[in-house]
Symmetry: C2
Subunit: 494 residues, 2 copies
């Protein structure tokens, strides 16, 4: 931390812009790349101390260079009864991931990694160090107890931003549950997505389930030429066409896997409740009995599964708080890479109102994109951390000479079709169905941020005023999150 202060002071003296990374593994979001060419990368990966893991009060305090693997190993070695909530790949940093608003797989209180933080230590642009929450009270033992502290809480400025360099961060941890249950529900018709999402909102917001894993049995028809033809039509299949394909092939339109964490009896009671709820609300809904796992699961149980989880009814490592790297292989295959290796991954991750109608509308917009590229994920929609969103993504592999460019174009076309030259903030028919990314690689950050324009960019002006006040030399990650300091503002892309 003292070294970081020293670096910041030197950068200030010579007005050298720094771009800070924790471990630089932020794949799909630009990895370690800065917003501004010529920045000095400040790599914190050697700040890798795990300062505390507390299983009485269920929190961890770590430095930015600590990875999910490190933290997991630390917990396992000490046999502590707490879980971490990790994203798909486990090589990244809990601090870095949370600061970029990353998400995971377990219960809602832990899945939104930024919201699950409980106090930070931050080196400011002027070289001072502040602590948020109870950390501002010297000598208090309550740093990780209460993140708001007293007075205003500036911590939100340090997420997806450039108002400081986070050198320590606390996280609430989920107590190790007694058991895990996973079961599956399917519904017959396309428009059944509407009551399905409503029921899931009920279960999710009531804290009865973990992340719901959406899918569609219709993926079985991916090889069906007739269905592909219908998918390729502008606007995709009509509801009637879709339902006919489903019925003719004895398939259901949608399915969702429900994950339950808690005492074994509680999980089963919640599963019974969920089945009743879907039966009442969606005619023809089917429930598929899943499996109960006593925690901890064995290494063998986890090895059963080598791919992404959904829809699967088999344990997926991050669902058990176990970091791994399996999903690169999965994504590589999904991208069509012959050796399963993946070299590129860029997403469009909009926040969609949690209603079936809105998801279907979103899907129609993206159905306009050239088929085959988006279709792998076309019927995969996830309820995000905070239970609040859905996404799609585009993956590509440069091992396939033809793959990278058309996929990238498809991605841009899919978004540009609805609003030229904007990757975020789509409007069809004058502002309806507007979508904005929750996270983005640096190359798109200005376009994304510029879509968040309410009050003629009042939020951007507010951030810029704050930024110029606390970082007058513009040394901290200029452009990050769309926030440019005065000195470098001319580099903003939009």
């Amino acid at each position: 931390m003292e070294q970081v202060q020293g670096i910041v002071r030197i950068a200030n003296r010579y007005k050298i812009p720094l771009f800070t990374i924790s471990t630089g593994k932020n794949f799909a979001y630009g990895g370690p790349s800065p917003n501004l060419r010529g920045c000095v990368t400040l790599d914190l990966k050697r700040m890798n101390r795990i300062l505390e893991v507390n299983e009485d009060r269920n929190f961890a305090l770590v430095e930015p260079g600590v990875t999910y693997f490190d933290l997991y190993r630390y917990i396992q070695e000490r046999d502590l009864k707490v879980w971490i909530d990790c994203p798909d790949p486990g090589w990244g940093s809990p601090v870095g991931n949370a600061l970029d608003h990353g998400v995971g797989y377990t219960m809602q209180a832990f899945r939104d990694h930024f919201s699950a933080h409980c106090g930070m230590e931050v080196v400011l642009a002027n070289g001072e160090v502040l602590r948020t929450g109870m950390g501002a009270l010297p000598g208090a033992g309550s740093w990780q107890e209460y993140k708001h502290g007293f007075g205003p809480d500036p911590s939100g400025l340090f997420g997806q931003g450039n108002f400081g360099i986070v050198t320590k961060m606390g996280f609430r941890l989920m107590p190790q549950p007694e058991a895990y249950y996973i079961g599956k529900i399917s519904v017959p018709k396309r428009l059944d997505l509407i009551p399905m999402v409503k029921a899931l909102n009920y279960l999710s917001d009531s804290g009865l389930i973990g992340e719901p894993l959406f899918g569609t049995p219709m993926n079985a028809l991916r090889g069906n030429a007739d269905f592909r033809a219908v998918l390729a039509k502008p606007g995709g299949p009509t509801d009637t066409e879709f339902d006919r394909f489903a019925a003719d092939n004895n398939l259901h339109a949608w399915e969702v896997e429900l994950q339950f964490y808690g005492p074994e009896r509680t999980n089963l009671a919640n599963w019974e409740y969920a089945k009743d709820l879907f039966r009442q609300r969606v005619p023809g809904a089917r429930a598929y009995e899943g499996k109960s796992f006593r925690i901890p699961v064995s290494r063998e149980q986890l090895l059963v599964k080598n791919e992404m989880p959904y829809p699967s009814s088999a344990p997926y490592d991050p669902a058990f708080g176990v970091p791994n790297l399996k999903n690169w292989r999965y994504l590589g295959r999904a991208a069509g890479s012959p050796d399963g290796k993946l070299t590129g991954d860029a997403g469009f991750y909009p926040i969609i109102p949690r209603q079936g109608q809105e998801i279907l509308k979103f899907q129609r917009i993206f159905g306009d994109a050239p088929p085959g590229h988006l279709s792998a994920h076309e019927y995969r929609r996830r309820n995000r951390a905070d239970g609040r969103a859905h996404y799609t993504r585009v993956i590509f592999s440069n091992r396939l000479p033809d793959a990278r460019i058309p996929l990238h174009l498809a991605f841009r076309q899919g978004t540009q079709r609805t609003r030229p030259s904007r990757i975020a903030g789509h409007g069809r028919g004058g502002g309806r169905a507007r979508l904005g990314d929750y996270r983005s690689p640096p190359v798109y950050q200005d376009i994304v941020a510029s879509a968040y324009s309410f009050g003629e960019h009042a939020l951007r002006r507010f951030h810029e005023t704050l930024k110029d006040a606390v970082d007058p030399n513009g040394i901290l990650s200029p452009g990050r999150g769309g926030v440019w300091p005065a000195l470098h503002r001319k580099h903003r892309r939009v």
Copy 2:
């Protein structure tokens, strides 16, 4: 909102400081009183529109003048299946309460009212209007879906602060549960508080229980002269003395009521689990079967109870999301007011690490205060929203001529004994057991804020730099949360 913008512009022109209140009912925390004498009170109580309550997506969007009563009535009239999480008195504003980091009674995801917000509209000091979260995306239907939006999130600056005037705010609502169960656990010895709190942390952080309601059967001995004498000793009773009084009177040292929200079978499964947990971890723990309520409860069921809930095993209105004003009467009685009326209420609400040892340490500090004044609450400790803290409070009634002053003195002495002239940031033995308020009336805010001094007041300087940048004329609530603009900084008390 346009009127608020107009007022702000005039205030800027003439450098008139404004002090904004939502409804001004912030009792125990200063009510409508400003930090700076001579402020013009900007009362938003006529901005009282309920803009949306959505039972598919479980949120509300309201203006600052809306009260908990208004919102409750709106929901009841439309028979919407959502609950609000309300504080003890229901006359206040959800916006005002959340901005002052207020708390409630139901499940953890909703009890911390600030954390449960999902997007704000804010009039800034320069008269501009910004929206946070997805509200910054014009025309998006996702405002209440995801509070972080894209890029840095400044919303924390508007809580307990003076960086803007919040004119609209969204809140996540708890879906109406099928049932409610309340049961009680007691443990025999004083030091059993340690495993008890640990077990409660497990249940709370696992999302299995609502707010745990602490109490002690030892309050039955309040009339016992011997016990009072021991309580009055410096440092209070030793553990051995305490346990002997408990055993001699066939009483347990501590009790806690557990509240469960969810499907009826889930609640019972969780209750069984909780009983097993306490039996395993605390020798001699007893469980008292409580009662299951089908939701909604009837008006008659609620009327059973006219006092504060704990420990009671009877329904308390806010535990059911029903706003009320009963607790003023209770507090009046507890203050010894003959007519039950209360005229004063000032609290010391420190954040304490969630460990039994820490709570006992805190209790010993406050046991030094003159007995009889604090004793009414001496053995009442609550696990706060966010599950993260405990508090005590002092209440007084000016109907009792002798009551106000000694109680106030006791309060100050209790805190001053550990660190002269500091109401927050107590240290015994050089910084151990340091405590800081999470919330405070304006009269104490500077002393409280000054205790959050890490890095030689780095947080305060950071706030002041930000404040001067966005409010150069210091017109918005100068001094609120300890943040003074340059123009009025000379008025800071510490």
